[in-house]
Symmetry: C2
Subunit: 202 residues, 2 copies
DNA sequence: GCTCCTATGTTGACATTGTTCACATGAGAT
DNA sequence: ATCTCATGTGAACAATGTCAACATAGGAGC
């Protein structure tokens, strides 16, 4: 009652608060009512902006995807792909960024790629994480750093690997220390012999 | 009241019913009360056998893991690893079994590897899916079918890949048709050149 | 500047859920 | 036959998602 939200900012405020709550408790334990209470707003006001609790959570999941994409974009920006070393650094850096996101933002990661936020199939004109991976692989291919004959469907393979490793990290099935082993193993699989640097990534 | 469960079978009955419910509605939408109601039992009776709703769900998740393991065991039993072709078939077959489980039992897969059932780190004497993968890789190595130098940490890599692909399938991020592309890509990465068979697996 | 409409927030209510506590009861050991 | 403990019951509580009827503020149109 102190502040009233008759200025259209409630939707954003709820997403922000939900995002904060998801970060600390995980999506399973956030409650519409407590969000409303924190914002000093009636529980039912949410239904003017979101069809559903899940609808709100989907908005939070979209924030998660955006955060991941931003991390990956930063990696690309840091390494202009104008030489082989940078191309390798891009590739490994993208992987590390993905895994770091999973480790740092476990709950957000789980929501973003969980059952609530159905990830739609990647559209051709996508500019998100998947597209960034594809361009990194194209760069590697252009510099002839990939083992011969493996380029086709490599996007799917690398995406699945990295996403799977992230999931295993998040579930605690694998300790964070094994990230290096994973990245090394990946490098051994895809890079031509002799092109392995001692410390992949950064 | 018709049948009373004073014979100790309630725990199993609840797990069975919960398993059935998870299969159709997904773990997020199963309710202790409705399970009790189906079994014609009081809601609170569950607490004589399970600490918690999550405790019951963890039992269901264990069933899921067992079902997955059984599928993989069937693959190993079907291909005695006494020749190179069989060793390759084992490897690809295990991958296909994992992915088939994810596709057939989406909800159970999500529960088994979801936040509720924290997957503990793999113990050294494990005999489950991870161990089966390791032995399949050892077989490939013994027959010298792997590209040189990639064996170390390959378990982690292959596990992550397959698990990640399964997750992508379950989330709908990738259509079931791409399983073949995934398996082929995997084969291109790990098998020595010339050892690729036209139809990996079966 | 007045009026009306629509977007937005409130009140109160309902059904459902997980969980607990005090109590009943039945089967097996003594 | 009695005692005891494991197991199931009944009633209750707090919390949650959701909805329908209602209030109101602030801008659009005159």
């Amino acid at each position: 009652m102190s502040r009233n939200y008759h200025h259209g900012a409630l939707a954003e405020a709820m997403v922000d608060q939900a995002l904060a709550d998801v970060r600390v408790q995980g999506a399973e334990h956030v409650s519409l009512r407590s969000i409303a209470q924190t914002l000093e707003v009636s529980p039912s006001s949410a239904y003017n902006h979101f069809a559903d609790k899940d609808d709100l959570l989907r908005a939070v999941g979209a924030c998660g995807l955006a955060a991941l994409d931003e991390r990956m974009a930063r990696v690309l920006a840091a390494h202009p792909a104008d030489n082989p070393d940078a191309a390798r650094a891009r590739f490994s850096g993208l992987g590390r960024a993905y895994l770091a996101f999973a480790i740092d933002e476990t709950h957000l990661f789980q929501l973003t790629f969980g059952p609530i936020c159905a990830v739609q199939e990647i559209p051709p004109e996508d500019t998100g994480p998947y597209n960034k991976l594809t361009t990194a692989l194209d760069d590697l291919d252009r510099w002839q750093l990939l083992k011969p004959g493996i380029r086709s469907d490599l996007d799917l393979m690398v995406w699945a690997s990295t996403h799977g490793m992230a999931t295993l990290l998040v579930e605690g099935a694998v300790p964070p220390e094994s990230v290096d082993a994973f990245i090394d193993s990946m490098a051994r699989l895809v890079f031509i012999e002799g092109a392995l640097s001692a410390a992949e990534g950064r």
